[in-house]
Subunit: 251 residues, 2 copies
Amino acid sequence: MTNSKNARLKIVRPVRSGQTTEQVVARVYELIKSEHLKPGERLPPERELSKQLGISRPSLRAGLSSLISMGVLQSRQGAGTFLVDGPPALDSEPLRLLAQLHGFSFEHMFETRSILEVGAAGLAAERATGEQLATMSEEIAEMFAALKDPQQFLVHDVAFHRAVAVASGNPTLATLVEMVSAILYERRRETIDRAHDFNESLDLHRQVYRAIRARKPDEARAAMREHIVRAQRAFALEEEQQQSNLEQDRA
Amino acid sequence: MTNSKNARLKIVRPVRSGQTTEQVVARVYELIKSEHLKPGERLPPERELSKQLGISRPSLRAGLSSLISMGVLQSRQGAGTFLVDGPPALDSEPLRLLAQLHGFSFEHMFETRSILEVGAAGLAAERATGEQLATMSEEIAEMFAALKDPQQFLVHDVAFHRAVAVASGNPTLATLVEMVSAILYERRRETIDRAHDFNESLDLHRQVYRAIRARKPDEARAAMREHIVRAQRAFALEEEQQQSNLEQDRA
DNA sequence: TCTTGGAATTGGTCATGACAATTTGCGACG
DNA sequence: CGTCGCAAATTGTCATGACCAATTCCAAGA
């Protein structure tokens, strides 16, 4: 009645959910782009920012909450909202949800991880700096020291792989490696106590390291591929045991 | 150890931000997990859901807004909020922001894309179904038809690569390929009109296809690698021209 | 039977206020 | 004069409530 026929405005685009949310994201994006905001710095207070954008605080918060969940922002109550600093990282949550939603298998995750890390190992063999080589070596040493402590071993295992990814000199690649690995890591932490022998795993890590150190990309790739294949096998075994243990518990 | 740099494994994230937001995400995650909610289905109305969770509607909306920005949910005013349907996909926005924030270069993006797509091509050569092969072939045909229309050519170029990624049979991998490609695609769309000759590109696409069709993973990988290297070169050239054109405009 | 109008449903936005955690600065005490 | 401790200001967190806009659906009328 009130709007009789002017409602002819047929929006061609599929309804943009969150007009204002999008606005917030775009605004922050501009702040970053124009270098007015550097990593680690603080954003204007919500009350002020909402006025700047001409939107209400709840709406602003919806947008910020999106950016927080994307891992771009981080907020501390009483202190403020900050651009994350530190190494670039993507939140694994979206991938995890997607995997759950579509029933991705761990085999596929491992396969993807293999492709990413094999590539990273090859690049690392070409580009790793001395310091990065040192970091890898240190993590291997820590793995030696933790042969009797599965959880600790796993921590340094992950750290080694992260070091390789970083040494690839490709932050995009390193970010993806991190994202995929994080999901597998969490799952593995629950089952690794059932693993028996880390010597083989450790040896393969050392082969990867030696190949990178010797600047032999092909060998590094081959070693990493072999390592991940075996890791996947070990993982499958642990899962199996976990499964049978659960069945025993029920009995 | 004494080196305080690498021993900092901060896996714990300050949960301070988003107590309730996290709760919402967890709740939806449970809904999905327990299969009470299938792709394409509708969530309970916000007013009801907020009561179920014992939180206010704005708080609930903050959480939903996160899930929407992750690409898990989609909402239409007046209709409801739905679990996304269709092929699994991760939003590229987070990666784009991260790239902007840390100054990732396009070279690195291409390199990552190469690693992902080369791997996908290899897997596709092992697993592609007849239908998937047909899809690839059709896209190549469309590229033939669009030799004089850069924008259209690019559309089918992207579609071909997507088909290869899907044919890898690995949805995780396909999702990552999609995410990285989307960013490069957007940039490329702006410069492709300056490209001269698509015949070489088309020929390389056909080589990739033939290798996949012939079930020769190594050849498929090699062809894909070669293709992307050249695509990157072409891209760099177009960028250069774009640059000099801009300078001319200023003069 | 088909069209159409409106009411109910549902997401989108806003305003306001109370609350909690952190930071900061001032004052008391050594 | 310096240091510690507490209180106020700052800032994010959450709730309540209201209104708007788009969609859906059903019933009344052509």
